[in-house]
């Protein structure tokens, strides 16, 4: 590869920076706006006077949210879901990716199993069969319904298997020479060399678990079992005012006025924002660089 650093002329460089900065601002603005809304007074928010700075600063919305048992409870369910679901996702991904990354000589039915898993990515049974399977297996209304149906993210398996394959064979052969079996090769050779991809996949599954709301709404039989995003979906989606009667309006205003909604959204963002910095440094790291010479 040609390792020439292209030096852009000053003007083009500036243009690049400006465009990238603008895109960055576009991404940051909704978050800043939400934060500003959550600290503004309800009337300022309702009359649209809040942009990126709180108007008539107040922490009322946060007090209201943090005293709301439904919010706290669903927050706990989401935390549990990530703590149980993400490690399980990773464990199964690793255990499936390893055999699929072997050569056909080592694992003769590899292609069959590869297609077996891949098929579920290409074709989905549809909503009703999905629901029926979960119902027949007795998972409806159970916490595990949020974990088990998606426990094996096949797309992640493909990524990890490919990553395993790209690790030089020589390392495994050297380990095998020293008497390592499959388990040792997987856990002591391959995994330590795969930190970047593992970190990335962990982030994927964590975010996926944290953000999914649809399965909670459909699979749980009562709102007190909703994970956080399902709960948020019920309060954040603007009701169609034509469907509401005047009886509902006032109550709805109390619970889902814009400032409390913003506060809830922001609190829900925090855990995932905290995860990023810890995993990010692995994204760019080339861990296996230098393990092989020549």
């Amino acid at each position: 590869m040609n390792e020439r650093i292209v030096k852009l002329p000053f003007f083009e460089n500036l243009l690049n920076l400006a465009v990238l900065a603008l895109l960055g601002l576009l991404c940051a603005f909704p978050i800043v706006h939400t934060l500003a809304l959550s600290f503004s007074s309800a009337s300022a928010a309702a009359s649209g006077r809040v942009a990126i700075w709180p108007v008539e600063f107040t922490t009322q919305a946060y007090q209201f949210v943090l005293e709301n048992p439904a919010f706290i409870k669903s927050f706990g369910i989401s935390i549990a879901r990530v703590l149980v679901g993400a490690p399980l996702n990773m464990l199964l991904t690793i255990l499936v990716a390893y055999p699929l990354s072997r050569s056909k000589a080592e694992f003769r039915a590899r292609d069959f199993f590869a297609w077996f898993f891949l098929l579920t990515v290409l074709f989905s049974g549809g909503l009703i069969p999905w629901y029926m399977v979960i119902r027949q297996t007795g998972l409806i209304d159970k916490f595990w319904a949020l974990i088990i149906p998606g426990a094996l993210p096949v797309f992640n398996v493909i990524l990890l298997a490919n990553s395993f394959r790209s690790i030089p064979k020589e390392l495994e052969e050297a380990a095998a020479m020293d008497g390592a079996g499959h388990w040792t090769i997987l856990f002591r050779v391959l995994l330590p060399l795969s930190w970047p991809i593992l970190a990335t996949l962990t982030l994927f599954v964590t975010v996926a678990h944290w953000n999914s709301w649809f399965d909670g709404l459909i699979l749980m039989n009562s709102p007190d079992k909703y994970p956080l995003q399902s709960y948020l979906q019920t309060v954040v989606i603007n009701p169609d005012p034509r469907m509401l009667t005047e009886r509902d309006l006032a109550l709805l205003q109390l619970i889902s006025n814009r400032t409390t909604r913003a506060a809830q959204i922001f609190i829900a963002m925090v855990p995932i924002l905290l995860v990023y910095p810890f995993l990010q440094r692995y994204f760019t790291a080339g861990v296996k660089l230098g393990a092989i010479k020549g």
Partner: protein, 558 residues
């Protein structure tokens, strides 16, 4: 906290308090009563309830529930054990159990999944489309005979007040669903105007659409909010003809055009959006837009954003339903404490009085699973509701079953799917209230109406600013008096209340956005010839079939 913030906060607090107390339609006397959580046989025994029959031994009934984020429970209560489940079990001998409880936004989908996977509750709520779908699939019980045998006189009265509602639950001459009724006329639009602006500029009540245009012009040119900036909007609209506030249909009604509904013309049903009367109204709106009397960006604003404009105190007029003062018009007080609105009948463009369009309020039905042993149990539950709750003057009964004023956010009737409202109740209650105001004598009113009475008195005697909300709706010359006119001879009822016909289901999803787009574009300055083109396209792209189907339907449902 600066003084303004404090004031705003107090205003909001009072407004919220007013609203919640008002909307719960219930009141509690100051004497201490046991909390609703303690309801037992004794609690029911104290009440004088009409309970004709009781299953002995009790029967089981499975159902499902839609709730929203505002539902709350006191003490040990939850959705499976509350005043309503206890009443059904102890008084009617019906043990109701909910297979699942889901947020209202997902109800239709979850019900579809549940029913499709063979898990059908004994009694449940369906949308009009689901009623037809499930009935065709043979999943529903025929309720015709049990209705005839079991429905109480009061139940029949409630279901008959709006004659279309029972018909909507009838397919091929048999009754399959009990309609969840509400007042149809509540969807009729009125003209709401910032009264404080009118007073300031010395404007009289509008008597014609020409007056409306003139008021709109003066609202943007004469700086009604007194901030020396041309930042006001004459008429607030969204691009939707349907919205509950800031809709376009009210304006069109002033020109005898009725977009989006079906009405009789020369002996046949026609679709309002493609009638020639739309032209003049569109031209008038176009002129208003050109002169800056409408929001420049109305085409991209939804009703929540218009509510923001109203809260900013920039709106002068809007067409909307009777309860608009509760939301969003009350918000204009957030920044202008002296802001208040008045309702006016929709004026006419000519000598013929204008009619407000409105549609049936039945959006859902209660049905029973085909094969359930006790289809009449549903009717008994409906009877229990209509005989005891509707029109009840017994405050203790109301607070037991509906909610009490000490916990205004705990709405007890949200715990049961069997909730019907009396179409005429709002109008009747308001009439009694006005009679009492005229006599200055609140005796004989139920506590809730007495409470409204005191609010209106506070407005006239002490000048309580927030009370205008109640005055503008239920007061003398309030919005409800206009609804009475609408019911009498100033209304245009949507004659089509069936489920979408075949072609309608197929074509309306494309025709409706087209209609909205054409209306928006013409208002924003496209030549009016575009409307003629639209009418032609509408008929060509399926409209002709839809008109035929609707008229065929009308013959079968006179």
């Amino acid at each position: 906290m600066n003084p303004l913030t404090g004031k705003v906060y107090v205003n909001r607090f009072i407004a919220v308090l007013l609203l919640t107390m008002l909307l719960l339609s219930c009141a509690r006397p100051p004497s201490p009563t046991p909390p609703p959580g303690a309801s037992t046989d004794d609690a029911f025994a104290k009440l004088s309830l009409v309970v004709p029959d009781r299953y002995d031994p009790p029967i089981e009934m499975s159902s499902v529930m839609a709730v929203d984020a505002t539902i709350k429970f006191l003490g040990e209560n939850d959705i499976h054990n509350n005043v309503w489940t206890r009443a059904y079990e102890q008084l009617l001998g019906i043990k109701v159990s909910y297979k699942w409880v889901v947020d209202g936004s997902m109800y239709a989908q979850k019900l579809g999944l549940s029913v499709n996977s063979g898990d059908i509750p004994d009694m449940f709520r369906v949308s009009p489309a689901q009623l037809h779908l499930f009935q065709e699939a043979g999943l529903l019980a025929d309720l015709t005979d049990v209705y005839e045998a079991v429905a109480s006189p009061k139940t029949r009265d409630v279901l008959m007040q709006d004659p279309t509602s029972l018909k909507a639950g009838t397919i091929a001459g048999r009754l399959w669903g009990i309609p969840l009724t509400d007042a149809a006329v509540a969807s009729a639009s009125l003209l709401w105007i910032r009264q404080d602006w009118m007073d300031k500029l010395g404007i009289a009540a509008p008597t014609s659409m020409a007056d409306v245009l003139e008021i709109s012009r003066r609202f943007i040119t004469e700086d009604p909010d007194g901030n020396n900036a041309p930042d006001t909007i004459g008429l607030c609209v969204t691009k939707s003809v349907w919205s509950a506030f800031a809709n376009l249909s009210g304006f069109f009604n002033g020109y005898h055009a009725y977009p989006g509904i079906w009405y009789e013309r020369n002996g046949a049903l026609v679709y309002g959006s493609v009638q020639p009367e739309m032209r003049d109204a569109l031209l008038a709106l176009q002129e208003m837009y050109a002169q800056g009397q409408l929001d420049r960006e109305f085409g991209v604003k939804d009703s929540n954003q218009v509510a923001e404009t109203i809260a900013q105190g920039k709106c002068g007029m809007e067409f909307g339903v009777w309860w608009n003062p509760y939301h969003p018009l009350n918000q204009s007080q957030a920044n202008y404490p002296h802001a208040f609105w008045s309702a006016f009948p929709i004026p006419s463009v000519d000598d013929v009085p204008a009619k407000s369009q409105y549609s049936s309020a039945v959006g859902a039905f209660l049905v029973v699973r085909n094969g359930y042993e006790h289809p009449e149990a549903l009717l008994r539950m409906v009877n229990f509701w209509s005989d005891n709750i509707l029109g009840s003057q017994d405050d203790e009964l109301r607070q037991t079953f509906l909610g009490d004023i000490e916990n205004p956010d705990v709405v007890l009737y949200k715990y049961t799917p069997v909730v019907l409202w009396e179409p005429n109740a709002m109008i009747d209650g308001s009439k009694k209230l006005r009679e009492a105001l005229a006599k200055k004598d609140p005796s004989g009113l139920d506590l809730d109406t007495q409470w409204r009475y005191r609010i209106i008195q506070a407005y006239f005697e002490q000048g309580t600013l927030e009370a205008w909300v109640e005055v503008a709706t239920n007061g003398p010359n309030g919005a409800v008096t206009i609804l009475e006119q609408v019911l009498k001879d100033r209304g245009q009822l949507n004659r089509f209340y069936g489920v979408p016909t075949v072609t309608m289901a197929e074509k309306m999803p494309t025709l409706q956005p087209m209609e909205e787009e054409v209306i928006t574009k013409i208002i924003m300055g496209e030549p009016i010839a575009m409307f003629d083109q639209f009418v032609e396209n509408w008929y060509r792209l399926g409209g002709t079939e839809i008109v035929n189907e609707v008229n065929l339907w009308a013959e079968q449902n006179p």
